[in-house]
């Protein structure tokens, strides 16, 4: 495999997924990197950067520090900044060079906690996976460390939303629309991981009856909460009336039975292809199938969990293979950055995602939770 892209984009990386997942929670996130990661993340992957004061930094790693294994400089710098700025927690995420030097993120996190009294987490991201991997690590760490273990199940029907970051949902109100869907379905939303809520809200997550996983980034956290609290999870995003009804029923079934649910439709293979993150794409495909009776298959272009996909779906990340898969498609729904590799014979429907094209098409990213019918009118 030559690992080349002649023209398509590179997805946001795992390091940035950590930053995005933790952005609103009052912590300090440090990318252990020489330079460039901070500018990349805050320019292209973080639409909240201008309007929210979140502490995301790089370490400014130098050649000599890397060669000499001078971790003390990093620790001192973090301790100094933490003493000044008093974050609620500290997260250190990796990039390629710390990966090469075998940097021990957990050990450094322990030392930082010892010296500051502030909880610290190490995330051994490599900069070589997509944001899904990094955001998953961060949300999983929240589930393991930041949720009150003594939380009792709430008396009323309640849910958490897991896997919310602007990389998948932008800042177009999709997060609020999902919460509204749950409310209308009779669920009180306890916490949203991690847009629009605080660390204190997340601490109460153990009291929920069910977890709604709205992107692949939330699945690992859901599994931890399932182990810790026995909370079942349901994977999917409400889109369109028909699929939203299916999802609502799955949520209620899960709350009642305690069994995890993967609600979806799977018609025999057709000629509509959706490219993108797995949960978003399978939800959209299911919504299309249930509302229009047209079959849609998914090519997941990020890391994905097999259990969230259907038999006809595939996970492909390299340009040449994606291009081959698209040769027979009649309709392609994807981020505009994929358009140059799509056959001229196919109709291309733009579905931009921050995780793929960053800020370029931000104004065109639809809120499919409440505007699915507008979107579908474009497809058919």
């Amino acid at each position: 495999m030559k690992q080349t892209s002649r023209i398509i984009s590179t997805y946001s990386a795992d390091t940035f997924g950590v930053c995005s997942a933790l952005f609103e929670l009052g912590g300090m996130t440090i990318m252990h990197d020489a330079s460039g990661c901070n500018s990349t993340y805050t320019t292209h992957d973080e639409p909240r950067w201008y309007d929210m004061d979140s502490m995301v930094y790089i370490s400014g790693l130098s050649e000599m520090e890397a060669i000499m294994g001078d971790d003390e400089k990093l620790i001192d710098d973090i301790v100094s900044a933490a003493n000044d700025l008093k974050p609620k927690f500290i997260a250190v995420a990796g990039t390629p060079i710390p990966t090469m030097t075998g940097f021990d993120f957990n050990a450094i996190a322990e030392i930082i906690t010892e010296r500051t009294g502030i909880p610290a987490f190490g995330f051994a991201t490599t900069g070589m996976n997509t944001y899904v991997h990094g955001a998953s690590m961060a949300l999983k760490a929240l589930a393991e460390n930041c949720v009150d273990n003594n939380a009792a199940r709430s008396a009323d029907l309640s849910a958490n939303i897991l896997g919310l970051t602007p990389l998948d949902f932008s800042v177009n109100g999709s997060d609020a629309s999902i919460a509204e869907f749950l409310k209308n379905a009779g669920f009180r939303v306890i916490s949203k991981w991690a847009m629009g809520d605080s660390l204190e809200d997340i601490a109460q997550a153990g009291s929920a009856h069910v977890n709604l996983v709205v992107s692949s980034t939330g699945l690992d956290a859901a599994k931890v909460l399932s182990e810790k609290f026995g909370t079942p999870y349901v994977v999917g995003i409400p889109m369109g009336k028909e699929y939203s009804d299916v999802l609502e029923k799955a949520l209620k079934d899960a709350a009642e039975t305690g069994k995890n649910q993967f609600p979806r439709s799977e018609l025999p293979e057709g000629d509509i292809v959706i490219l993108g993150e797995g949960v978003t794409s399978v939800s959209l495909a299911s919504a299309l199938e249930l509302s229009c009776g047209k079959s849609a298959r998914v090519i997941c272009t990020t890391e994905c969990f097999r259990e969230t996909m259907r038999a006809k779906d595939r996970a492909i990340i390299w340009e040449e293979e994606i291009q081959q898969e698209l040769t027979k498609a009649a309709v392609i729904i994807a981020d505009p950055m994929f358009k140059p590799i799509c056959p001229d014979s196919a109709r291309f429907i733009e579905l931009p995602a921050e995780s793929c094209s960053g800020r370029i098409y931000r104004d065109k990213i639809p809120n499919l939770v409440c505007n699915f019918s507008n979107f579908i009118s474009e497809v058919f």
Binding site: T10, F16, D84, P96
Partner: protein, 442 residues
């Protein structure tokens, strides 16, 4: 409206009076913040200056992400490709194969064969001890019709030897092939933005009917190659100087580094040196200082005591500009910079002696996340970062000197200050555009 996310109750004020500033690093290094001001160029923008060049970056995803989208935002994705380094490549030690096969694969897939390919390797290649010489030899062997240039995205080396910026500016001219030197032919090198036709440099060269080459005006690869006929290579942007020396040594011309400046004596020394080296009549400086002084007075009469902030992205001489304005009676309150260059040492000393309370602020210090003004101020900012930190729409929106040079830099800066005083700009949106002025290089 800015929303606080558990912002600290108190953030230490980290500004310092210039009298206390140490040289060259007035602020302790530490965690680094990135302000939303993005107008300065990066190595993608600069590489695009070579007409018909195709850029191929060989890096990890985290490194590719920013450059891919830089190219996309420029509308230059068709001139940009990537080879993605994965963990298996670090473990298997097949980095050389990855570069050679990846670059070859991309070239074979391009709709049109480019005359030149810029291959950017990264920190991981440096740390893995990758045999870059072998890689480029093999690529040249496979594609003899293409000029390959070794470029680098290795910010980990920014504190060791040439900076990535210096390296990139030197690589812009590496593909130039020796050809006969033409007398009276001059190349201005190393600046991202075209030298202003009204600048003293262009006026001097044009006034003496010299043939002027500048990469920013090359429309095709052949025109680019014609730069190699130059008898003199002139650079005025500090990061260009190292590359200019390499170029002259290789092609046989003479490199003149004549620094950008706001100091009248230094301006005249530079232009006089150029005329002397090129053996053309010395420029007539009579009346120039008086014109500048009048413009300073007129601008001061308009702007009055309005507080002014300057940052280092506006020009290579933030302290030099502060000195000029303060000596003319302007109310310069702050200068934003993270380091002080050797060229600024005289201005630093003069400011320490005469304006010791002038405040210096860093731009990347962790506390700067919380030290931008939350409400709009009445500052007049010179530079994007100063505009952001002071939260003002009255700002001069120029990066990297904007192609100014000589007395023209003084006069044009004052003109832009008057304009900024009189008219508001959409600061929030303007400063977030990457690579200001690069749209024309595609």
């Amino acid at each position: 409206m800015l929303k606080r996310v558990n912002a600290p109750k108190e953030v230490p004020n980290i500004g310092i009076p210039i009298k206390d500033a140490s040289f060259p690093a007035p602020f302790a290094s530490g965690l680094e913040y990135a302000s939303p001001a993005r107008g300065t160029w990066n190595i993608v923008h600069t590489g695009m200056l070579i007409p018909e060049a195709h850029e191929i970056f060989v890096c990890a995803a985290s490194c590719l992400r920013g450059v891919v989208l830089t190219a996309a935002e420029l509308g230059a994705s068709h001139r940009f490709s990537t080879v993605e380094v994965r963990e298996n490549n670090l473990l298997d030690g097949d980095m050389e194969d990855l570069v050679i096969d990846g670059v070859s694969d991309i070239i074979e897939k391009l709709p049109k064969r480019p005359p030149i390919v810029l291959v950017y390797t990264s920190c991981v290649h440096h740390f893995a001890g990758c045999d870059l010489d072998m890689i480029y030899a093999e690529l040249a062997n496979r594609f003899p019709d293409i000029d390959f240039v070794d470029c680098y995205m290795n910010p980990i080396m920014r504190k060791s030897g040439l900076t990535p910026d210096q390296l990139m500016r030197s690589r812009l001219y590496k593909a130039l092939k020796p050809r006969g030197i033409k007398k009276g032919s001059v190349a201005i090198i190393g600046n991202d933005l075209p030298t202003d036709e009204n600048s003293d440099l262009m006026q001097l060269l044009r006034g003496n009917n010299l043939k002027i080459h500048e990469i920013t005006s090359c429309e095709n690869y052949e025109q680019y190659q014609e730069m190699a006929e130059s008898e003199f290579y002139i650079s005025y942007y500090p990061s260009a100087a190292a590359g200019g020396d390499m170029l002259a040594k290789r092609l046989g011309g003479k490199h003149l580094y004549v620094p950008f400046s706001f100091d009248y004596d230094e301006i005249e020394r530079g232009l006089t040196r150029i005329s002397s080296e090129l053996d053309i009549p010395a420029p007539d400086f009579s009346g120039k200082r008086e014109i500048c002084e009048k413009a300073l007075k007129d601008t001061l009469a308009l702007i009055g005591n309005t507080p002014i902030a300057i940052d280092y992205t506006y020009s290579p001489r933030p302290l030099g500009l502060a000195k000029l304005l303060l000596e003319s009676g302007f109310n310069v309150q702050r200068v934003y910079l993270d380091a002080i260059t050797g060229e600024e040492k005289p201005a630093l000393q003069a400011l320490k002696e005469n304006y010791p309370e002038l405040q210096l602020y860093p731009t990347v210090h962790a506390s700067m996340r919380f030290l931008s003004e939350k409400e709009p101020t009445n500052y007049l900012a010179i530079g994007q970062k100063a505009a952001h930190f002071m939260n003002t729409n009255h700002f001069v929106n120029v990066v990297e000197g904007g192609g100014m040079f000589g007395y023209h830099a003084v006069l044009h800066t004052l003109e832009l200050m008057r304009e900024a005083y009189n008219e508001e700009k959409d600061m929030r949106n303007l400063i977030q555009i990457k690579g200001m002025g690069c749209g024309g290089c595609i």
